[in-house]
Symmetry: C2
Subunit: 482 residues, 2 copies
């Protein structure tokens, strides 16, 4: 039969905020030191000064000489959904599946995660908390002839250490910016002792979740990996007795108990899985999304200058080029294109108790780069331009509720960054707000109430939840709300 399941280990780690090994104040001292010793210099340059990158003479796309890493290309969208049914846009094409991998290890009986203080050119604060391994295929097959990424051997089977896979999923990235990009989100448990290099630090899951209350500290890659953690192993045989014991044993505030119960409850959902799957089948059936790859120069309503590629109304985002110097002891220098958002965004889940269990108001959202027409998204996901009165292209349902909610109904509110390797200082307001049980909402056809348990099971089956929904789910702190 099956090996012992990782669910209890994950739960213990999630409920452990003070590691025997490192306290959170240890962490903050260490992290501050990592930031201080970091040298970062980033300047915008004209495209012509990019080294090893060029606009391809045939396709006009912006690509690396090696043909690896990523390219900026054009797409033309035709859809029968929404008000704007056809448009062109630049998009990042990165067909490789990369690793977002976290090494975990049981230390004094509690699962700890080996986190990295990683510098990325586009990061706000330069250094953010990253997974142990964050590598594109070009990285780990060494197209760039750089160093082998640290800890790669634990993920690709080249280490002799005893390793157990705890979580392993292929998940999408931003569908509005990437063409069908996916990463392998993987958490492994190493049974042996392993070296801990200078910019790495052991934290419990509870500690990482605590750090998510700070702005722009935990990077997007960490958030997507930990969003895949669920607390029931074999979801078709949920044994939640260990949870009840745990809740009795520890003093846990009511709201955190409620979240935990919503994560494992399988009896009180408003909609069955069959309901939800039928709802998705109907939307995918009804809405068409035709994405045609076109030369970057053919993208209509976008303007290419020496310094950027931007929308004629300066909306959405622009493609820029940067000269980058980064390092602490060793300094690395390179040039690369980056994506710069025209404005901040907001992502928010509205949640509510139904049948005594937290339900999340989930949106089936179409984005150009989606793997399969629609993905499950937060209740609200938009650029801030969309709610400035005179710039609206369309109404954003429930946005007014999110913006006007009473302070005591806000369970979570921070700024969180997009991936700093591609996006230049891009951040979104992340919110979770709770409605009262007797608040009644009228739902458009593309909204449905899902329990946290249902969302976590959809995450397991890959490509159902978009990265924004996963980011918010990663922030759910079972231990410590203020």
């Amino acid at each position: 039969m099956n090996e012992l399941s990782p669910d209890i280990e994950f739960l213990h780690s999630a409920l452990c905020e003070e590691s025997c090994l490192n306290s959170l104040s240890d962490f903050h001292l260490w992290f501050k030191k990592q930031q201080e010793k970091t040298h970062v210099k980033i300047e915008m340059i004209p495209f012509a000064e990019l080294k090893n990158w060029k606009f391809d003479s045939k396709t006009t796309n912006l690509k690396h000489y090696s043909g690896q890493f990523f390219s900026v290309e054009g797409i033309r969208i035709n859809t029968n959904r929404g008000i704007k049914t056809t448009w062109d846009q630049p998009i990042i094409n990165q067909p490789e599946i990369g690793y977002l991998g976290i090494i975990s290890k049981k230390i004094n009986g509690i699962l700890h995660f080996l986190m990295q203080a990683k510098i990325e050119p586009g990061n706000l604060n330069y250094v953010q908390l990253s997974p142990t391994l964050q590598a594109t295929k070009s990285n780990y097959t060494q197209v760039h002839k750089g160093r082998v990424p640290l800890y790669l051997e634990y993920f690709n089977g080249k280490s002799n250490a005893k390793i157990k896979i705890l979580s392993d999923q292929l998940q999408s990235e931003q569908g509005a910016r990437f063409l069908k990009k996916r990463n392998r989100n993987i958490i492994i448990e190493v049974k042996n002792d392993i070296p801990v290099y200078d910019n790495f630090f052991w934290l419990t899951l509870g500690q990482i979740k605590d750090l998510l209350k700070y702005d722009n500290l935990v990077n997007m890659d960490t958030r997507t990996v930990i969003s895949g953690i669920s607390f029931i192993d074999n979801f078709i045989e949920p044994d939640t007795s260990f949870l009840s014991e745990e809740l009795q044993r520890k003093k846990i505030p009511q709201k955190q108990k409620d979240f935990l119960l919503s994560a494992v409850d399988t009896k009180n959902s408003k909609n069955t899985f069959d309901d939800i799957l039928s709802w998705l089948a109907n939307l995918k059936f009804k809405y068409e999304l035709e994405v045609q790859r076109i030369p970057l120069n053919d993208v209509k309503e976008w303007i290419k200058t020496y310094y950027d590629i931007h929308h004629i109304q300066k909306k959405y985002f622009s493609v820029i080029a940067a000269n980058i110097e980064i390092g602490n002891r060793e300094v690395f220098g390179w040039t690369q294109p980056l994506i710069k958002s025209a404005q901040e965004g907001i992502i928010a889940f509205i949640i509510k108790k139904i049948n005594g269990v937290y339900h999340f108001l989930t949106q089936a959202k179409t984005e150009a780069g989606n793997f399969d027409i629609v993905e499950l998204a937060p209740t609200v996901q938009c650029l801030t331009g969309n709610y400035r009165a005179d710039e609206n292209e369309y109404d954003v349902p429930f946005l007014d509720i999110v913006l006007n909610i009473n302070k005591e109904q806000i369970l979570y509110k921070t700024m969180q960054s997009e991936e700093g390797g591609r996006f230049y200082k891009e951040q979104n307001l992340n919110m979770i707000i709770e409605l009262k049980e007797n608040d009644v909402l009228h739902l458009p056809e593309n909204y449905k109430w899902l329990t946290l348990n249902q969302l976590l099971i959809f995450i397991k089956f890959n490509n159902y939840l978009n990265i924004q929904a996963r980011s918010l789910i990663s922030a759910i702190n079972f231990r410590n709300y203020e």
Copy 2:
């Protein structure tokens, strides 16, 4: 809370072989009559004689004047999997999602399915048993200005009848022949009385499954729709008590009991869902499949003549053109391209009891048109050419076991057709064979043992099981093996 679940209704219908309404001998009489009154005339014609179809002057692809229905295009494949890592081939591109819909209705307490005796040009026997509604978007949006398909109104919300959706999935078609084609496989229950037209007939699920023991009677579309039926509703709360009662009440042979238990068992699987999902993530991560659309004329190693497009070694399949006359009272005539297979194929599941429960040896298979690199396929799936000694391109694992198995270990063996609207008289040998519990197989990395319950849950989540695997699963007859 949720409405009453359809699982028990499906089970009752599956265990009911003699409907109060229609006996199987009634059916055979009716079906014979349908065949006899059918007028079918099909002749091969040169491409130049196709009406409303042309080779596009720009793309050289074979398409309908309307731009609708489907087109025959070229693709170029690059993969790092297998011995042959690059090839060109023609492929059918039909981006529309069509309906494969069955109307069901409770008659004397038992769910009956409204089946259609449908003529398709490529069908062996011309008439096969089809779903109530089988329609491409071009059909039901009436691009061809023909008649509205019968019963469409029950599926598209235009009828006032009381309707409940029992099963609703988007499922793939043949990945070697279609580019990412999917259909909406849907079963609805109608509470009102509805008209039954001449070529329609009510059958229980048990009766349909009985008919699957005949060669080429139940068409592919019916098989894929009924493969999606599971006997536990909310799979995360499997309540199997009704099943035990049912099994005690009725006299059911042991093997059928074993299949039923394997369909609902959630405790005795060799691999957990997390194991299986991690196995799939690893294969999708490791293997690349780049499919580039190219002009049909650029497809290397294929020859276009006046009458067909075939492979230089006459392998695989050819594209042909046909003039078709079909009808009983009214006669319809049209021309269209068809795909003609170069040889028959074989698909087979090897099954075995592990921990007392049937496990199916499942293959993670890469096909050019797959939605997502690999899909779950039967143990063996190949063209017969692959096992004629001197024509092998590659070894087919487990094929020797399937071909040399003792007769008493064969649980299922029939010829079944591919979809007659696209494929010309194409059939595959369908087999399910049972190994002894102490038979040990060495599994290559892309094979894994899954229970029937696990396969049925993967079907629910769409695009996991390929059409060949679903065809075999549809044939599992819980009532009546010989």
